[in-house]
Symmetry: C2
Subunit: 274 residues, 2 copies
C-alpha cells in the first residue's frame, strides 16, 4: 500500500476536485489518499497563511503513516515556506516521495539540494480540471505503484531535474538552489510573453554552468504582445545555451498540460526501487 | 555645452517622439541632442538586431563628440548586448553620463560594476508620451546642465542605486550585477501582479545581503488577479526585508511615470561635479 498525503504549500483546491481525484484513486487498490484539510483553506492568494501551510506540509512530511507527499496545486507561494519546511523535516521525511511541479519547484529544488526524500516533477491533483486531466493523475498513481510508463521519455543515464523556467530563475542563487553540475535540466513555461521567456533564459542560463545540457518542454499559453517577438521558444533556448556553451539537447515531454510526464530528480527512476 | 547622443539598446522610438524631445531641448541652450538613426530601427521586439543595437551603443559611448549617452526607451533587450558593450567601451566612455531606467538597468548595473562612466537612473525620451512627460524630460536637461532640483529627495550620504525590481532580480548573480554592499537600493515596478512582485522580492532580497537598506518606489499598473493578493507592495517589501534583516527605509520618488526622479548611481549627485 502506498499511502499518499495531499497538502497545498501554495494555493488551495476545491472539495469537488479533491473528491474527483479520490474517486479516481479507487481504481488503484495499492493507493490510499489522505487529503489534509489545509488544502481547502484560503487567505488572500494562498491556501491559508504561511504558518498554516508550513504546519500542514511538515505534518505530512514527518508523519510515518505516509509514503508520499503530493502537492495539491501550484500557483504561487511554496517559496515563502520552503526554507522553514526543510529545516523542520526529520528522518521520517527521508523515504518519502514529494510530487508536484510549477511553483512546487521551490520545494523540489530545496529537497534535492538537502538530499531529503525523493523530489519528483509530476502532475498534481489540481490537474484533474484539465481536458484529459484524469490521465495525468493516473500517471502519478501508476508511477507510485511501480509502473514507469509515465516517465519522461528522454531520461537517460544522466541525473535529471525538471523545473518551471520562472521557478528555476527565481531559485538561482537562493539557499534553495540545488547544485546541478552534470545534470540534464528540463524546463517548461506557461503564460509568459516571449520577451519574458528570453529574459528568464538570460538569467537562468547564467546560473547553469557545468550542467550536462538543457531540454525544453512546452512553452504554452504565450500571451499576444503588441508586436511579434521575432523568434520562438526553442530558438530562444538555443540562443542562450549557445551564449553559455550549454548543450541544447532538444525537447522534453513536460508542461502545464495533461501530457506532463514524470521526472524523478536525480538518477533513480522508480519509487521504492533498491 | 552638454552634447547628448540618443540610442536605443532595447526597443525603438518614433520619429515623432524624437522630434518632440528635440523641440523641447531648444529651451536649454546648453543642450545639444544627436539622435542615432538606430533609434528608429525595428526587428521583431527590438530596435534592430542585437548587432545593430550594440554597434550604435558602442559608437555613442566611444565618440568623444558626446558628453552623455541617453537611452531612448526601455521595453526589453539591453541585457542581450550589455556584456559585449561593456567589453567594447574604451576610455572615451569614461567621463560620460549614461541615462535611463527600467530595462536600461542592465546597462546601468553593468556600467556601475565596471566603474565605467556615470550611470544615472533618469527619465528617457520615450517618456514624452506620458501625461506630463515634458516635465520628466526637462528634469534630465536640468540635471545635465547643473540644476539638481530633479534629484530623488531621499538621497543622503550613502551611495545609492535605483533599479526596476524585475531588472534587479534578473541581474542578480549574472556578470552584470554590481556589488551593492553599503548601498541604499531603490526599486520600482510596473505591470506585474502582486504575487509576481512578492516572488521578485523573494529572489532579489536573497541577493542583497549587506546593503544599507531598501527603498520602495511606485509599483504601478498592477493587473487584477482572480483574487486579491492579501497585502500591498509596501507590506511585501517590508516582509522580505525583514526575512533577510535588510533595513526597509521607506518610499522613493521613482517609477514608470512622469514624476520619476533622478538617481545618479553612487555618491556624486551632480554631473561634471569635481
Amino acid at each position: 500500500m502506498i499511502r499518499i498525503a495531499i497538502c497545498a504549500p501554495a494555493c488551495p483546491i476545491s472539495h469537488e476536485d479533491a473528491a474527483r481525484v479520490a474517486d479516481l484513486a479507487r481504481g488503484w487498490p495499492g493507493i490510499e489518499l489522505t487529503v489534509h484539510p489545509q488544502c481547502f483553506a484560503s487567505e488572500g492568494h494562498f491556501a491559508g497563511p504561511d504558518a498554516a501551510r508550513l504546519a500542514a506540509l511538515v505534518e505530512c512530511a514527518n508523519d510515518p503513516a505516509f509514503d508520499a507527499v503530493w502537492f495539491a496545486r501550484g500557483g504561487y507561494g511554496s517559496n515563502r515556506i520552503a526554507q522553514a519546511a526543510l529545516a523542520a523535516f526529520d528522518h521520517r521525511a527521508q523515504d518519502k516521495a514529494f510530487l508536484g511541479y510549477s511553483d512546487m519547484g521551490y520545494l523540489l529544488g530545496g529537497l534535492y539540494r538537502e538530499r531529503i526524500g525523493r523530489p519528483v516533477h509530476a502532475p498534481m491533483p489540481a490537474d484533474i480540471r484539465r481536458t484529459g486531466g484524469s490521465t495525468a493523475i493516473a500517471r502519478v498513481f501508476d508511477w507510485l505503484t511501480g509502473n514507469g510508463a509515465g516517465l519522461e521519455p528522454s531520461l537517460d543515464d544522466r541525473p535529471t531535474v525538471a523545473l518551471n523556467l520562472t521557478t528555476l530563475a527565481m531559485l538561482a542563487g537562493t539557499p534553495l538552489m540545488p547544485g546541478l553540475a552534470g545534470h540534464v535540466v528540463q524546463v517548461e513555461e506557461v503564460s509568459e510573453h516571449l520577451y519574458a521567456v528570453d529574459r528568464l533564459f538570460f538569467h537562468a542560463t547564467a546560473h547553469l554552468g557545468g550542467i550536462a545540457g538543457l531540454r525544453l518542454g512546452r512553452v504554452s499559453d504565450v500571451p499576444d504582445n503588441d508586436r511579434p517577438f521575432g523568434s520562438d521558444a526553442a530558438q530562444i533556448a538555443r540562443d542562450w545555451c549557445d551564449r553559455h556553451a550549454i548543450a541544447f539537447l532538444g525537447g522534453a515531454d513536460i508542461g502545464h498540460d495533461a501530457d506532463n510526464r514524470i521526472v524523478p530528480f536525480g538518477l533513480v527512476r522508480g519509487f521504492r526501487q533498491p
